[in-house]
C-alpha cells in the first residue's frame, strides 16, 4: 500500500473495517491525491504534494468518515468469537475427509512418484501440513485485520486440543487406555488405516511416550505461525 496512507490503513483495520473496503478506499484516495497534486502543480503551487495531502483531509477525518459506517466492518470484527472460536472446529472436521479425498483424486489422476503409498501420504500431510495450514489461515486472518492477539491464541489453542495425530498402527497396538477414532479406507486395493487421536480423547501422556518426536514436530509446526505473530505484534507495540 502506498506510504502516505500507511497510518490510515492501520487505523481502519484496527477499527474493524474489512480489508477489501480499506483497500478500495485507499486506492481511490491515492487516485484523488494524484488529481489534486496535478491541479496544485498546474496552479504553480510550490509544494503541490504537501498541499494536495492537506486538501485530502487529515487522517483522523478520513478514518472517522469510514469508521462511523458500521456496514463496512468485517465479519471478524463483528463476530470474532464465531470466527476464532467456532470456525476452527468446523474447519478441522471438514478438512480431514476433504484432505483424504483430494489425495485420492491426485493419486488417481497423476500417480506421481511422491505418492509412494497413499496411506503414507495421508498420514504425513495429516500430521504436518493440514493442521498447521489451518492454524496459519487463522493467524493470517488475525494479522491482516490487525486483531487482538487473544483471538488467534484462542483458535490455535482449540486446534491444538482438537488436532488429530494420525497413525497407522492397528488398534491393538495403541497403548492401553488410549482412545482413537479409526478410519479405514480402501481404494484400488490400497488401505488407509489412519487412527487419528484428538489429544482430549486419549491418554495423551501415553501418546507422548509412544510418539514423542513426531508429536513434538507436529505441535511445533502448529505453534510456529502464532509465534511469528506474537513476535511481530511485540515489534509493532515497541515501534508504537
Amino acid at each position: 500500500m502506498s506510504t502516505p496512507f500507511k497510518a490510515l490503513e492501520d487505523r481502519l483495520l484496527r477499527g474493524g473495517i474489512a480489508p477489501r473496503h480499506v483497500k478500495r478506499y485507499l486506492r481511490e484516495l491515492g487516485e484523488h491525491l494524484t488529481d489534486i497534486t496535478e491541479a496544485q502543480a498546474a496552479a504553480g503551487h510550490d509544494a503541490p504534494t504537501a498541499a494536495a495531502r492537506a486538501a485530502l483531509g487529515p487522517d483522523e477525518e478520513l478514518a472517522d468518515a469510514m469508521l462511523k459506517r458500521r456496514g463496512f466492518r468485517s465479519l471478524c470484527a463483528r463476530f470474532p468469537w464465531l470466527v476464532f472460536g467456532v470456525v476452527p472446529v468446523l474447519a478441522l472436521s471438514l478438512a480431514m475427509p476433504w484432505h483424504i479425498l483430494v489425495l485420492v483424486v491426485l493419486k488417481t489422476l497423476s500417480a506421481p512418484a511422491l505418492f509412494h503409498t497413499l496411506e503414507g501420504m495421508v498420514l504425513f500431510t495429516g500430521n504436518f501440513i493440514l493442521v498447521p495450514a489451518i492454524v496459519l489461515l487463522f493467524v493470517f486472518i488475525a494479522w491482516r485485520q490487525r486483531l487482538s492477539l487473544a483471538w488467534p491464541i484462542l483458535s490455535t489453542a482449540i486446534i491444538l486440543i482438537l488436532s488429530p495425530h494420525w497413525d497407522n498402527q492397528p488398534v491393538a497396538d495403541f497403548p492401553p487406555g488410549f482412545s482413537a477414532l479409526h478410519l479405514l479406507y480402501s481404494y484400488s486395493g490400497e488401505t488407509i488405516r489412519g487412527g487419528f487421536t484428538p489429544l482430549f480423547l486419549g491418554a495423551w501422556w501415553q501418546l507422548i511416550a509412544a510418539q514423542g518426536a513426531k508429536l513434538a514436530a507436529q505441535y511445533l509446526l502448529i505453534l510456529l505461525p502464532l509465534a511469528w505473530l506474537v513476535r511481530r505484534h511485540g515489534k509493532t507495540v515497541a515501534i508504537a
Binding site: 473496503h21 478500495r24 478506499y25 481511490e28 484516495l29 487516485e31 484523488h32 494524484t34 488529481d35 489534486i36 486538501a55 485530502l56 483531509g57 487529515p58 477525518e61 478520513l62 468518515a65 469510514m66 459506517r69 456496514g71 463496512f72
Partner: protein
C-alpha cells in the same frame, strides 16, 4: 425531532452527491470540485471523505460504479440507479420541508400564545 428528520444533517453529503450524479456519471475528484464550485467555497471538508459516502451509497444500492480509463488515467466513475433516484427524491423532499420550517422560524411573525 418528530417527522423522521433527526438524521437530516447526516444526509446532506448524500443529497449533494446524488443530485450531482443525477446529471451525469462522475468520479470522486470531479464530485468534490463540483460541490466546491457550486457552493462557492462555502462547504469546506477533507476531500477524501467523499469516498465513504460514495461507497456507502453503492452498498445501499443507490449507486453503481465502473472503472474507466480516460486520458491514460484509470478512475472509478459513479452513476445513479433507480433506487438512487428514489432516494434523491426522498432526501430532496425532506430537505425542502425542513429548510422551509427553519425559514418560517427565522422569519418569525407567528406567535403562539400558551393556553
Amino acid at each position: 425531532m418528530a417527522g423522521g428528520n433527526s438524521n437530516f444533517l447526516s444526509g446532506v453529503p448524500e443529497l449533494m452527491v446524488l443530485r450531482l450524479l443525477q446529471d451525469r456519471e462522475m468520479y470522486g475528484y470531479e464530485i468534490v470540485q463540483a460541490i466546491q464550485a457550486q457552493s462557492r467555497g462555502t462547504l469546506c471538508f477533507g476531500e477524501g471523505v467523499v469516498y465513504p459516502v460514495l461507497h456507502g451509497l453503492e452498498k445501499d444500492g443507490a449507486l453503481k460504479s465502473r472503472r474507466r480509463e480516460v486520458s491514460g488515467r484509470s478512475r472509478v466513475y459513479y452513476s445513479l440507479n433507480s433506487r438512487g433516484v428514489r432516494r434523491l427524491s426522498d432526501l430532496t423532499d425532506t430537505w425542502t420541508s425542513t429548510t422551509q420550517a427553519i425559514q418560517n422560524v427565522l422569519k418569525g411573525g407567528l406567535h403562539v400564545h400558551p393556553v
